[in-house]
């Protein structure tokens, strides 16, 4: 196979076209051809089509999109909402923003089709606030789409109305969690909500709501045009379709590579020109920092939902952060933990206090002031956070620590060694704990 064979440019196929973000380019390259087809079908048919395609959520959890859509009530007693999660906060993840920069209309077309399928007449795109350039581009595209009659009243004469609003977040990782996102969108403090009720029953403004990731929704027009079977020609039975893998770190050509689900890191590294300067791979995340680390042993793990899970991690957002042998694992783990401490929303005890404590232990270890007991404490505190927190942020926060110690305990121990050496050369403090 050549390198190009491994790539399956679907979502990314227009990215290199000149002015790819304009309506003109989009229309020239098959844009808005799925919409009229979709509007001729019934909402039920569209939901079935997406179910048949096996499209799974691209926001991290991989929940089947068609099944999620089918939770929306079949009638319209209440307003329905579609909310696009464009918060893209997971460390290493860089796919939704490039997509919205390069091809915003594919997302907009997906929004109209999905809204129609779920009987929503209001759609919100919640974009992380740190990317004003992306928000500007999206707004410009939305304006174009309104102008051209793809949004607004009576879209393409179908009688279907849709208002689309681009909303800027205010810079909190937790607002990517779908219920915190809804609170934030309502103008409240972004903290996850108690479920049930699930968004499909009471979401935005307590009305039936579906939250989907950008990549999930942008996939829909292609499925409408080419069919479920075509979609299933890529990837595996349970994880079909193409996926945008974002490679960052010590690789020659970092960036987005769209390949079928199940592609391995070895193959992706080939596409990206290999490890930077030929320095060997040490560890990597398969799907952002919330997914347990992999090592060079895992180069051939098929990167789909099942493959990543079987190998002890998660597919997450297919954000591959790649580190070579020059990087200290405890240091990297400390940096990630500092991120989670900063981003913990504060609602629940395990995540709020756990990340506060874990950060201090790791910082101390990295300063060379740790002990072996600290490693036990780290693992035990992680155990008290994992699965005890209110939302998955807490689970994600401990992934780097537990997997880091699992694969690289020696490095943590080595830090303690140096501390012991230092301690031996110092005089003992007069009282236990009186030393600073």
């Amino acid at each position: 196979m050549t390198e190009v064979d491994k790539l399956t440019p679907v979502l990314t196929k227009r990215w290199l076209s000149p002015n790819s973000w304009t309506l003109r380019t989009y229309e020239q390259l098959e844009g808005y051809t799925a919409l009229p087809k979709a509007l001729r079908g019934s909402p039920e048919q569209l939901v079935q089509l997406v179910k048949d395609s096996g499209l799974r959520g691209r926001g991290g959890a991989g929940f089947p999109a068609g099944v999620k859509w089918s939770f929306m009530p079949p009638n319209e007693d209440k307003p329905h909402y579609l909310v696009i999660n464009a918060d893209e906060g997971e460390p290493g993840t860089c796919k939704d923003i490039p997509l919205m920069m390069a091809d915003p209309h594919s997302l907009i077309e997906g929004c109209v089709i999905a809204s129609y399928a779920m009987r929503a007449h209001h759609c919100f795109i919640y974009v992380r606030g740190e990317v004003p350039h992306c928000i500007r581009r999206l707004n410009a595209a939305v304006a174009e789409a309104y102008q051209a009659g793809y949004l607004g009243k009576n879209i393409l004469g179908s009688g279907f109305d849709l208002e689309l609003v681009v909303h800027a977040g205010a810079g909190a990782y937790i607002c990517g969690e779908e219920t915190a996102l809804l609170d934030s969108l309502e103008g409240r403090r972004g903290q996850p909500r108690l479920k049930p009720p699930f968004p499909a029953a009471a979401g935005l403004y307590a009305q039936p709501t579906t939250v989907n990731n950008v990549e999930t929704i942008a996939s829909v027009p292609y499925i409408v045009n080419a069919g479920a079977d075509w979609f299933r020609t890529m990837g595996s039975e349970k994880s079909p379709g193409p996926k945008i893998y974002s490679l960052s770190g010590h690789v020659e050509r970092p960036g987005q590579y769209e390949a079928p689900l199940g592609t391995t890191l070895r193959e992706l590294l080939d596409l990206a020109g290999g490890m930077k300067d030929g320095i060997p791979l040490k560890f990597w995340t398969p799907g952002g920092s919330s997914t347990p680390l992999f090592t060079a042993e895992h180069l051939d793990v098929p990167l789909d939902f099942e493959g990543a899970a079987e190998a002890g991690s998660m597919l997450g957002t297919t954000a591959l952060q790649i580190f070579n042998e020059t990087v200290s694992v405890p240091w990297a783990v400390m940096k990630w933990t500092e991120f989670y401490k900063h981003e913990s929303c504060g609602k629940c005890t395990p995540c709020r206090e756990g990340t506060y404590w874990l950060t201090q232990i790791l910082q101390r270890m990295v300063r060379g002031e740790g002990t072996e007991t600290d490693i036990d404490t780290l693992l035990d505190v992680c155990d008290n956070v994992l699965g005890r927190s209110f939302c998955a942020l807490g689970d994600g926060a401990v992934s780097p620590i537990t997997s880091g110690i699992k694969y690289f305990k020696d490095e943590f121990l080595a830090l303690c060694e140096s501390n012991r050496a230092k301690g031996a050369s110092q005089t003992e403090p007069a009282l236990a704990g009186a030393g600073s």
Binding site: R189, S344, G346, D380, R388
Partner: protein, 837 residues
């Protein structure tokens, strides 16, 4: 719903409709559908540790202290579940810390995490000794923390208001306070701020106060924090993060003597706990009474007890020296003798009895009986406020003798499809009724209507609908209710609530009675004061005798004469004078004397007349807790106990009997309840009341029994002519007393006073423009008739009808009644008074 569910022949638990069967720690239990695991476990005697959970707040699942293992359909759920958020289900298997090592470790883990940032200042913390964190750390935590790093610190404390102080270091972020304020009170004055370990409770002014350590009297929207219920947040805080400015550092829980009691603050009769230490009340807490106040009390009830220890307490009997004209301390024997002689002499020309609306049932009964047999008169009235003959008929026909079973109760408000409030501003005039209305609207979808002149905060917070009315025109509005509203009030279970202010609008009680008749809605009368309902039952009125007997009913009189052991015909037969007539007669010199029990002349319909009456009455005996305008003019002053210093009972607005014991034993004299003082005084006058103690009074009341023979036709009074606004600067006054307005029970409690609402006069934009006033400017209100004083208040614009102004009844700026001599529905003159105060 329960443990003792029935077992069938095979010995299996029966599962009634709407219930499920599950297993907790190996014990089978039947529980109502929807019950949360934590509560089912509790009923089984299994205590799962918790912080954020509170049975009256919506579940949050935030602290994660209550984790348990749950198995459904034979499959264990992958993670431990927060038992405070998961409802029980059929076939569920729950393992708590007692049977699951996973749950136990999870709980210990959360506890350790909660403690890493918790300061070890328990020895100086108010909560120490009664602290859920302290207790549960002992029961479900590890003895030693592994945390050796740096704790998060904050400057402390921050004043959230003048009465609530916040220590952010101690806070475990359970959000009970913010949820209470949001859900229960509807006053979201505090919110979570920041995130992660920096997350904290605060107000919009937190940053400012943290810097400058000045008071944060602002809510998140920048409105002043003036919740009437903020004290509850102190009580439900599971740590010492929220403390009471008044109680802080004053006592340790184990030094307190706690007595269950009933609040004397209003007619709801909330269950409360009075904590005393060395002869002083240190604090009051809400007790849990699901039927009445649930677990809440208002701030007035919680904080307004310092009056008991006020410097101006009457502690010794006093007799006026005829030569110097000064009151002088006297012995009880001397004072009682002078009082008895004076009253006996005055009795010839008649003595009027002004009883108080704050008396216990037993004291009111003693006044009632004293008037009849010692003073031989029916000139007695407990209504130390605006009142009317129409009201007497209304009370006799519609209120007398009702109780929670036969009339309206808190529960029936909660279940009502619709409630209409008439002449009642629930948040100010009956705060617990307000909370129940809000709960009804939030939880049961009750439609709440308010017949009032503007959209007060209570209208908004009960999700209510304003039925706008010009003061005085309420009867007309009720007679011509919108048919949609009338329909809702005709639904079974609908409720009409009418406040005592109805007495100020001629024809209003009649219209309310008519509306109740025509819709079938249940009717309740909600007076402001704690003793009014009891005094009605005790017959402290010119037309009623104790036990629901009419003065005019000869048979009832005979029955009472027998029960009281009097000669036939001993009871006065003539209908008595009401408060206004007693005062008028006294002022005109027609009465020989007055017996006054705890009345403030400024509350009376005509304060000036009341003062004249006190001066003109030949002989005045005053039974008082504190020196007052009455004691100033009295010939004999007899000290009596304040409510916490005596036993007795209140009858709340539901007609529910609320007995209580002595909470504060004092040793300095002012310890006798009115009934005891009256009993002794009566003996000096050769009459026997049998009310030596409240218990004896109760027995006497029981002995005469409740006859309930007093009947009256529902009143049918005509509305009076609307006063015409003859000049453009005249307006119709709407007014009521706000909850916190420096009333007599609120003395000496500056922290409480600090959360009163900002006083202002409200009017429509048109009315303001017409008077040449703008928002924030000072307006001057004076009586339309000459001679009155004036009050000055800043202008607020609100949705009042044009030509109507609203002003608070009391407060620092003055009192409408005292200074203008007018009330609700009167004409006042409105003019500019210069710019901002």
């Amino acid at each position: 719903m329960t443990l003792a569910a029935d077992r069938n022949h095979e010995g299996e638990l029966e599962v009634p409709e709407g219930y499920v069967k599950l297993t907790i720690d190996g014990l089978e239990v039947v529980a109502p559908q929807g019950e949360l695991i934590i509560r089912t476990a509790e009923r089984l005697g299994i205590q799962v540790p918790r912080f954020c959970d509170h049975p009256l707040l919506d579940p949050a699942g935030a602290c994660r202290q209550c984790l348990v293992e749950v198995e459904m359909g034979g499959r264990p759920m992958p993670k431990p579940q927060a038992s405070c958020t998961v409802p029980v289900a059929d076939g569920m298997v729950v393992k708590t810390q007692h049977t699951s090592p996973v749950a136990d470790k999870a709980q210990q883990g959360v506890m350790e995490l909660l403690l890493i940032n918790h300061p070890l200042d328990c020895p100086i913390c108010d909560k120490g000794g009664e602290c859920p964190l302290q207790n549960q750390a002992m029961s479900n935590g590890r003895a030693e923390s592994r945390f050796v790093d740096t704790k998060r610190t904050f400057p402390k404390p921050l004043p959230i208001s003048s009465q609530v102080l916040l220590d952010r270091e101690r806070c475990v972020l359970c959000q009970r306070c913010t949820r209470f304020s949001n859900e229960i009170a509807g006053d979201p004055f505090i919110e979570l701020l920041e995130r992660g370990a920096g997350q904290q409770i605060g107000t919009s002014a937190t940053a400012a106060i943290a810097d400058e350590a000045e008071s944060a009297a602002n809510t998140i929207e920048g409105k002043p924090f003036q919740s009437y219920f903020s004290g509850n947040t102190i009580q439900i805080c599971p740590v010492g993060a929220l403390t009471s400015a008044a109680y802080r550092f004053r006592s340790r829980p184990f030094d307190l003597v706690s007595t269950p009691s009933i609040c004397e603050g209003c007619s709801s009769g909330c269950a409360e706990r009075v904590d005393t230490r060395r002869g002083k009340i240190m604090r009051k807490l809400a007790s849990n009474d699901p039927e009445v106040n649930e677990e809440w009390i208002c701030d007035k009830g919680r904080f307004s007890f310092p009056y008991v220890a006020a410097a101006d307490r009457v502690l010794r009997p006093q007799v006026r020296n005829a030569e110097t004209g000064k009151l002088e301390d006297a012995s009880w024997t001397e004072a009682l003798r002078v009082a008895a002689e004076g009253l006996t002499a005055a009795r010839e020309r008649g003595v009027g009895v002004l009883a108080s609306g704050r008396s216990t049932l037993e004291d009111a009964y003693a006044y009632s009986k004293f008037a009849r047999i010692a003073l031989r008169t029916n000139d007695i009235d407990f209504r130390a406020r605006a009142h009317s003959a129409e009201e007497l008929d209304f009370l006799t026909a519609k209120v007398l003798g009702t109780n929670p079973e036969t009339g309206v109760s808190f529960a029936s408000i909660e279940q009502a499809p619709a409630v209409l409030c008439v002449a009642l501003e629930p948040e100010d005039e009956s705060p617990i009724v307000f909370l129940r209305l809000r709960k009804a609207a939030r939880k049961s979808g009750t439609k709440v209507f308010h017949l009032a002149s503007w959209t007060s905060p209570a209208v908004t917070k009960t999700f209510g609908t304003l039925l706008p009315a010009v003061p005085g025109e309420e009867p007309k509005e009720l007679d011509h209710l919108d048919s949609a509203v009338r329909d809702q009030l005709s639904a079974p279970g609908a409720v009409l609530l009418v406040g005592e202010r109805a007495a100020e609008v001629p024809g209003l009680y009649s219209a309310v009675a008519r509306l109740a008749e025509s819709t079938g809605a249940k009717l309740a009368w909600i007076p402001r004061r704690a003793g009014e309902r009891g005094a009605l039952e005790a017959g402290a009125l010119p037309t009623l005798l104790p036990g629901g007997r009419a003065v005019a009913d000869a048979a009832a009189r005979t029955e009472l004469e027998t029960a009281w052991g009097l000669e036939a015909g001993a009871l006065p037969t003539e209908q008595g004078k009401d408060t206004a007539d007693i005062l008028r007669a006294a002022a005109d010199g027609e009465l020989g004397g007055l017996l006054v029990g705890g009345v403030d002349p400024d509350d009376l319909p005509d304060p000036a007349l009341a003062r004249t009456a006190l001066r003109s009455a030949g002989f005045v005996v005053s039974l008082e807790v504190r020196h007052s305008a009455v004691t100033e003019l009295a010939d004999v002053v007899l000290p009596v106990a304040a409510a916490p210093e005596k036993d007795g009972s209140f009858v709340n607005w539901e007609g529910r009997h609320r007995p209580f014991e002595i909470a504060l034993h004092r040793s300095d004299g002012a310890t006798l309840p009115d009934c005891r003082v009256l009993d002794t005084l009566a003996i000096e006058m050769d009459a026997d009341l049998f009310t030596q103690t409240p218990k004896a009074a109760t027995e006497d009341l029981l002995r005469i029994g409740y006859a309930g023979t007093a009947v009256a036709a529902a009143p049918n009074a005509q509305p009076s002519e609307q006063p015409t606004r003859s000049k453009p600067n005249q307006a119709v006054l709407a007014t009521w007393r706000e909850l916190l307005d420096g009333g007599s029970l609120q003395a000496d409690e500056p922290a409480l006073a600090g959360t009163a609402r900002t006083r202002c006069v409200r009017m429509s934009a048109n009315t303001a423009t017409e008077a040449g006033l703008r928002k924030g400017e000072l307006a001057v209100l004076s009586a339309a008739v000459d001679g009155g004083g004036e009050v000055r208040l800043p202008v607020e614009i609100a949705d009042l009808p044009d030509g109507v102004v609203w002003a608070p009844g009391g407060g620092e700026f003055g009192k409408i009644r005292r200074d203008l001599g007018v009330g609700h529905g009167s004409l006042v003159v409105l003019r500019g008074g210069g710019s901002q105060a």
